[in-house]
C-alpha cells in the first residue's frame, strides 16, 4: 500500500518486465543490446544500459515473444508470460559468435622509435603451437632468436645466453625459468605482453651486450571477480582477479607442478636412482593496482618460485669415481617484491619510480663434496621521467641503480663456458667461500625523441654505468632514427655502444680473474618497415655486431698477491655477428593470425691466443619459423608452427686419453665448432575448443609437438673411450592435453 501511494505521488510506474543481458561465459554486462517484445501485432523495443539492464512498462498480461540482438552475438529468442500480479525479472545470456580474444583486441600500437621492437600480447602467446602457452617459450619464434631446447637459454643475434637482459617491468630477474627451462616462472595470467628487442635498444636498458626481453605485468581492470584454473600434463594453476572498491584491483596466482607424482609412477622401484624429492616446482604471484588520484597509479607485484629435486643413487660410483656420496640435491628459490608509482600530472610529463627487492638461493650438491650454494640479495631502484617539451621534442631521463650482496660456498670445477668443448674436470674442484660480496652498479640515462619534420624521428641517447666488480665506468652513446618515406614505408637505422660486466665467477679470485674489465659491443642496424595493409607488416633488418674486450678462457699464469696463479680469463676475446632478419606478420584479420620469421646470420668468436675466428656455439645460419592460428566456427581454433633451422656447430672428437685418476677416458677435440649437425625441422600443431556456459567457459586444447615425428639430431652419444658414437635425437611425437576453466 505504501509503495502504491509512493508510485501515485511520484507519478511513476514500476516496470512489469525487466532484466539484464549478460555475455555467456564471462558474465560481462552487454550494453546496447536490442531487446524486442512481440505479441500478435504489438511490438516494443528497448536497449540495455551500461549495466546491461532493460525495462518495459505496462505490458499486457500475455505470453510475449522476446528477441535479444547484439552485433557479434548469436541471436537469442525466448518467451515470457506476464501476469497482473507482479513484474517479471529475467537474466539472459548471449553467446558470442567467437571467444577468440583477437576479435575484440583493439590495440593502440605504441609509437615506434627503436630499430626493432616486437611486442607479443598475452592473447597471442596463449595460442601459439608448441609452446604450451608458456610466455617466454614464444620468444623463440621471433627473428634473431636461436632455436634452443633449453628455453632458459635465450640466444639473441648470436649473443651468449647471459648477454640477454631478462626483466620484469624493467627490473632485473636472473631466474625466470623453472629447472631445465620447463616453464617460465610467471604464468600467462599475470602478463600483459612481452617486449623483445634483438639489439639497438634504448638507453633505458643497459648492462647487456645481447638482446632484451622485458615482461610487462598485467594491467588489471576487472569489473567483477574473474579467474581461471588451468590443468595440463606438467602442472596446474589458479588465477583470480577482483576489483576492491573503485580504485583498487587485486590479482593472485599459484601454480604447482606434479612431475614428481608422474615420475613416481614411471620410475620402477628397483631403479638405480630414487627420487626422495622428485622434481617439483611452484610459483606464486600477487599483483595490486591502486589509483589514489587520477594522476597516480601505484602498483605492487610480489612474485617468486621454488624448485626442488633430490635423488639418491643406488650406485653413485657408476657415474664417477669422484662422487663421495649418493645424494644429488638441487634447489632454486627466488622472490621479488616490486613497487611502482606512476605519476602523470599532465599530458606532457610523467614520472615512473620503481623499487624492487629480492633474494635468490641456489643450492646444488652431488655427494658430500661438490657444492654450489649461493645466496644472492638484490636491490634495484629506477626512476624515469618523460617530458614532452614540444610537439616534436621529448626528453626521457632517469636513474637505474642495481645493488647485489652475495654469500656462497663453492666446491666445483671451473664452470663450462661458451667455446668449451669438454665437460668440467671433476678431478680438480676449486674451493671458495664468499661472504658479503657487494656489486653495485648505478647508472644514469637520457634520451630525446626529436621530430624535426613529420617524417623523421631521431632518438639520440646516452647511458653512464658504473660497475663496482671491475671498478669501471662506461659511457654508452646510442642513436636510432626512423624516416617515413611513404605512409606505408619506414626506413630505420641505429648504432650504439653497449657494455656488460663479466659474470660473477669470472671475476672471482679463485674461479676467475678479478682484474678483468668490461666487455664491449657496438650494434649497427639498418632496416625497412612496410605495412601494405592494416593487418600486414613486413620488417627487414640488416645488422652487424662488433664484440671486443670479451672475456676469454686462457691457460696463462699470472702473478697475484705474490703468487703465480692461473689467470683463468682475460679480455682478449673478440667476436662478430652479422646477418639479416625478416618478419612477415599477419595480425588478426579474416580469422587468421600468425607470422613468418627468417634469420640469416653468422656469429663468430676469436679466443685468447687464437688468430682465427671460429663459429659461436649457437651459430645457426638459417632460422625459419612459420606459425599461424585459424579460427573456425563454433569456437574451434587450429594452429600450426613449422621450423627449419640449421644444425648447431659441434667439435669433432679425434681421440681419447685414459685418466687413471678418475678411471675414465677424456676426449681429445679437433677444431672447435668445425662441424655442424644436420638441419632441424619440426611441425607442431594445436587445436583449441571452447565450450561456453552461462557462468563460465571451458577451454580444451591439444598441443602436439613434432607432429610428423622428425628424428632431429641433438648431438652425439659416445662410448666410454669415444671410439664409437651415435646421434641423440630430440623428442618424439609429444601430445599434450590441457584444460582451462575461466569464469
Amino acid at each position: 500500500m505504501i509503495s502504491l501511494v509512493l508510485v501515485l505521488l511520484l507519478g511513476a510506474t514500476a516496470p512489469n518486465f525487466s532484466g539484464v543481458v549478460l555475455e555467456r561465459g564471462t558474465r560481462a554486462p552487454l550494453a546496447g543490446a536490442h531487446v524486442t517484445v512481440v505479441f500478435t501485432d504489438m511490438a516494443y523495443e528497448a536497449f540495455t544500459d551500461a549495466n546491461g539492464e532493460f525495462s518495459f512498462y505496462e505490458l499486457p498480461s500475455e505470453t510475449w515473444r522476446i528477441m535479444v540482438r547484439q552485433a557479434g552475438y548469436i541471436p537469442f529468442d525466448t518467451k515470457e508470460t506476464l501476469t497482473d500480479k507482479q513484474g517479471v525479472k529475467v537474466k539472459y545470456f548471449l553467446e558470442k559468435r567467437s571467444y577468440n580474444p583477437f576479435d575484440v583486441l583493439i590495440k593502440t600500437e605504441r609509437p615506434r622509435k627503436e630499430v626493432n621492437r616486437f611486442t607479443i600480447t598475452r592473447d597471442e602467446i596463449d595460442k601459439i603451437p608448441g609452446t604450451f602457452g608458456d610466455p617466454l617459450r614464444v620468444v623463440q619464434n621471433l627473428p634473431g632468436v636461436a632455436r634452443n631446447d633449453n628455453a632458459s637459454n635465450v640466444v639473441v643475434r648470436g649473443a651468449a645466453p647471459q648477454d640477454t637482459f631478462i626483466a620484469v617491468d624493467g627490473i632485473n630477474v636472473p631466474i625466470i625459468f623453472h629447472f631445465f627451462g620447463l616453464r617460465s616462472t610467471l604464468p600467462i595470467g599475470m602478463l600483459e605482453s612481452i617486449d623483445y628487442y634483438p639489439g639497438n635498444y634504448s638507453t633505458y636498458y643497459g648492462r647487456a651486450l645481447g638482446g632484451v626481453l622485458d615482461i610487462k605485468t598485467r594491467k588489471l581492470n576487472p569489473e567483477a571477480v574473474h579467474g581461471y584454473a588451468d590443468i595440463s600434463l606438467l602442472d596446474a594453476s589458479l588465477f583470480l582477479e577482483t576489483p576492491i572498491g573503485n580504485n583498487f584491483n587485486l590479482a593472485a596466482s599459484f601454480r604447482r607442478s606434479y612431475i614428481d607424482g608422474i615420475l613416481k609412477l614411471l620410475i620402477p622401484s628397483d631403479s638405480d636412482f630414487n627420487p626422495t624429492v622428485a622434481p617439483r616446482y611452484y610459483d606464486y604471484q600477487l599483483l595490486t593496482t591502486w589509483r589514489p588520484t587520477s594522476a597516480h597509479e601505484v602498483r605492487g607485484f610480489f612474485f617468486g618460485s621454488d624448485d626442488a629435486l633430490k635423488f639418491l643413487f643406488q650406485n653413485p660410483g657408476d657415474i664417477s669415481v669422484n662422487i663421495t656420496g649418493n645424494r644429488l640435491v638441487s634447489s632454486t628459490r627466488y622472490y621479488r617484491a616490486l613497487f611502482e608509482d606512476q605519476w602523470t600530472p599532465s599530458e606532457r610529463f610523467q614520472n615512473v619510480a620503481k623499487f624492487a627487492v629480492g633474494h635468490d638461493h641456489i643450492d646444488f650438491s652431488i655427494g658430500n663434496d661438490f657444492v654450489f650454494d649461493l645466496n644472492f640479495f638484490q636491490l634495484q631502484a629506477r626512476d624515469t621521467a618523460t617530458w614532452k617539451i614540444l610537439d616534436g621534442l621529448q626528453l626521457k631521463a632517469g636513474f637505474d641503480g642495481l645493488l647485489s650482496i652475495s654469500d656462497g660456498n663453492f666446491n666445483l670445477p671451473q664452470p663450462p663456458k661458451e667455446g668449451d668443448p669438454s665437460e668440467p674436470d671433476f678431478t680438480k674442484p676449486l674451493k671458495h667461500k664468499i661472504s658479503g660480496v657487494v656489486f653495485a652498479s648505478p647508472a644514469l640515462f637520457a634520451e630525446t625523441d626529436i621530430k624535426p619534420t613529420t617524417n623523421l624521428l631521431v632518438s639520440p641517447g646516452i647511458r653512464l654505468d658504473y660497475f663496482s666488480q671491475v671498478h669501471q665506468v662506461s659511457v654508452d652513446p646510442r642513436l636510432s632514427a626512423r624516416y617515413t618515406v611513404h605512409p606505408q614505408v619506414v626506413l630505420k637505422t641505429g648504432v650504439g655502444l653497449f657494455h656488460q660486466a663479466p659474470q660473477p665467477d669470472e671475476v672471482d679470485t679463485v674461479f676467475g680473474n678479478p682484474e678483468l674489465g668490461l666487455q664491449h659491443a657496438i650494434h649497427y642496424a639498418l632496416g625497412v618497415d612496410y605495412k601494405p595493409l592494416s593487418y600486414l607488416h613486413f620488417d627487414t633488418t640488416f645488422f652487424y655486431k662488433d664484440l671486443y674486450n670479451m672475456v676469454a678462457r686462457t691457460e696463462a699464469l699470472t702473478q697475484r698477491d705474490g703468487a703465480t696463479v692461473p689467470q683463468n680469463y682475460n679480455n682478449s676475446g673478440r667476436g662478430r655477428v652479422y646477418g639479416m632478419e625478416l618478419l612477415f606478420r599477419h595480425n588478426f584479420a579474416h580469422d587468421l593470425t600468425g607470422w613468418v620469421s627468417y634469420t640469416l646470420s653468422r656469429s663468430e668468436r676469436r679466443d685468447a691466443g687464437h688468430p682465427d675466428h671460429r663459429l659461436f656455439d649457437f651459430d645457426q645460419t638459417h632460422i625459419l619459423t612459420a606459425l599461424a592460428t585459424y579460427r573456425l566456427p563454433r569456437n574451434w581454433e587450429i594452429g600450426a608452427r613449422w621450423r627449419l633451422v640449421s644444425g648447431n656447430p659441434y667439435t669433432p672428437i679425434t681421440g681419447s686419453v685414459f685418466n687413471s685418476n678418475d678411471d675414465s677416458y677424456h676426449a681429445i677435440y679437433g677444431a672447435l665448432n668445425s662441424r655442424r649437425l644436420q638441419p632441424f625441422h619440426q611441425l607442431d600443431v594445436r587445436v583449441d575448443k571452447r565450450f561456453v556456459f552461462n557462468h563460465w567457459m571451458l577451454a580444451v586444447y591439444l598441443d602436439v609437438q613434432n607432429a610428423y615425428y622428425q628424428k632431429n639430431p641433438q648431438g652425439f652419444s659416445y662410448n666410454y673411450d669415444y671410439s664409437q658414437k651415435r646421434l641423440t635425437q630430440g623428442l618424439p611425437i609429444l601430445p599434450i592435453l590441457g584444460v582451462k576453466g575461466e569464469f
Partner: protein
C-alpha cells in the same frame, strides 16, 4: 615437458653405444699404480699398469713424466719441454740435474725424485699451493698392441722434504660363488662356471690409510655385472666395506672361449690404486 626430454636424454646417456665400460674385449689400460703411492724427496717409486690384451699378447710400454700436463681436451700434452723446465729452474737458481722425461719402456719402471726438493718447495710457493700432500706431476704411458694404441695418464705427488708417503688401498683374494650360496672359491683359473648363470664375486679390501672413499671397478671379459663399480663411503652405512667388496655377475648364454678374465681395481679419494686379477673356466 622438457624434463621428460631431459630424462629421455639422460636415459640415452645411460646406455651409450658399444659395450659397457667394464667389459674387457680390446686393448685396455685399467689402472696405473705408483708404489709407494707418493714420491718422497730423494726417493724412488715403481710405476706399473694393469693392461688387458684380448689375445693375451704382451704389449709395448712407453713411460714418461711431465711437470705440467695440458688440458684434457688437448690430450694432456706436456705443457713444458725438458729444456724449458731446466731453463725455468735455472733462472730461479736451481741448477741441480733434472730427471729426463723418458722413463723407459718396461712393463714397470722406477722413477726417481726428478728435481731438487727445494725446487719443488719453490714451485709450491710460487703457485700459492698447499703442498702438504705433495705437488702433483703427470705420468704418461703409451701402450701398444698390434694396431691398437692407448695413451694414459696419472698424477704422482712429489712430497716435500720430510713428507710421508700415502699407502695404496689394497684389493685381493678374488672369489666366486653361485648367487646367494655363499660357497666361494678362488677365481684362480681352476673354478668352473656355467653360462647363463648368476654368480657373486667377492674381494678382500685393505684400507691402511682409512680413506673415507673407496671405489672398486669390476672388469669382466663377458657377461653383465649389476653395476660398474661398488663404493665405500665412511659416513654412509649403506656403502660399507662389506657392500663394496661384493658384486653380482651374470654370465651370458653364449661365449666362445674357455676362460674368462676378471679384474678388480680399487681407488681411494687421492687416486691411489691397486688391483687384483682372476680367471674362471667354463664348465664343459
Amino acid at each position: 615437458m622438457r624434463f621428460l626430454v631431459f630424462a629421455a636424454l639422460l636415459c640415452t646417456a645411460c646406455s651409450p653405444p658399444g659395450e659397457p665400460y667394464n667389459r674387457l674385449s680390446k686393448l685396455r689400460v685399467l689402472a696405473i699404480q705408483a708404489e709407494p703411492a707418493d714420491l718422497a724427496a730423494s726417493g724412488t717409486t715403481t710405476l706399473s699398469a694393469l693392461v688387458f690384451t684380448p689375445d693375451g699378447s704382451v704389449p709395448t710400454y712407453q713411460w714418461s713424466w711431465c711437470p705440467v700436463l695440458g688440458s684434457a681436451d688437448q690430450g694432456y700434452a706436456c705443457a713444458l719441454t725438458h729444456d724449458e723446465l731446466v731453463a725455468l729452474l735455472a733462472a730461479n737458481g736451481f741448477t741441480d740435474p733434472v730427471l729426463g722425461y723418458d722413463l723407459g719402456s718396461n712393463a714397470q719402471v722406477d722413477m726417481q725424485y726428478p728435481v731438487a726438493s727445494s725446487a719443488v718447495a719453490f714451485i709450491c710457493q710460487q703457485l700459492g699451493q698447499d703442498c702438504a700432500r705433495g705437488l702433483p706431476v703427470g705420468i704418461q704411458l703409451r701402450v701398444q698392441s698390434g694396431l691398437e694404441t692407448i695413451d694414459a695418464i696419472k698424477d704422482l705427488r712429489l712430497l716435500l722434504e720430510g713428507g710421508i708417503t700415502a699407502n695404496n688401498p689394497t684389493v685381493s683374494h678374488l672369489q666366486i660363488a653361485p648367487q646367494a650360496t655363499g660357497t666361494f672359491i678362488d677365481a684362480d683359473g681352476t673354478a668352473s662356471v656355467a653360462l647363463n648363470t648368476d654368480y657373486d664375486l667377492h674381494v678382500d679390501i685393505g684400507n691402511p690409510d682409512n680413506s673415507p672413499l673407496l671405489q672398486l671397478t669390476w672388469f669382466v671379459q663377458s657377461g653383465d655385472t649389476n653395476s660398474l663399480r661398488t663404493s665405500y663411503f665412511a659416513d654412509n652405512p649403506n656403502f660399507s666395506l662389506a657392500a663394496a667388496s661384493s658384486m653380482h655377475w651374470r654370465l651370458p648364454s653364449n661365449y666362445d672361449k674357455t676362460t674368462l678374465e676378471i679384474a678388480v681395481v680399487i681407488r681411494d679419494d687421492r687416486g691411489n690404486t691397486h688391483w687384483t686379477q682372476g680367471s674362471v673356466r667354463l664348465a664343459p
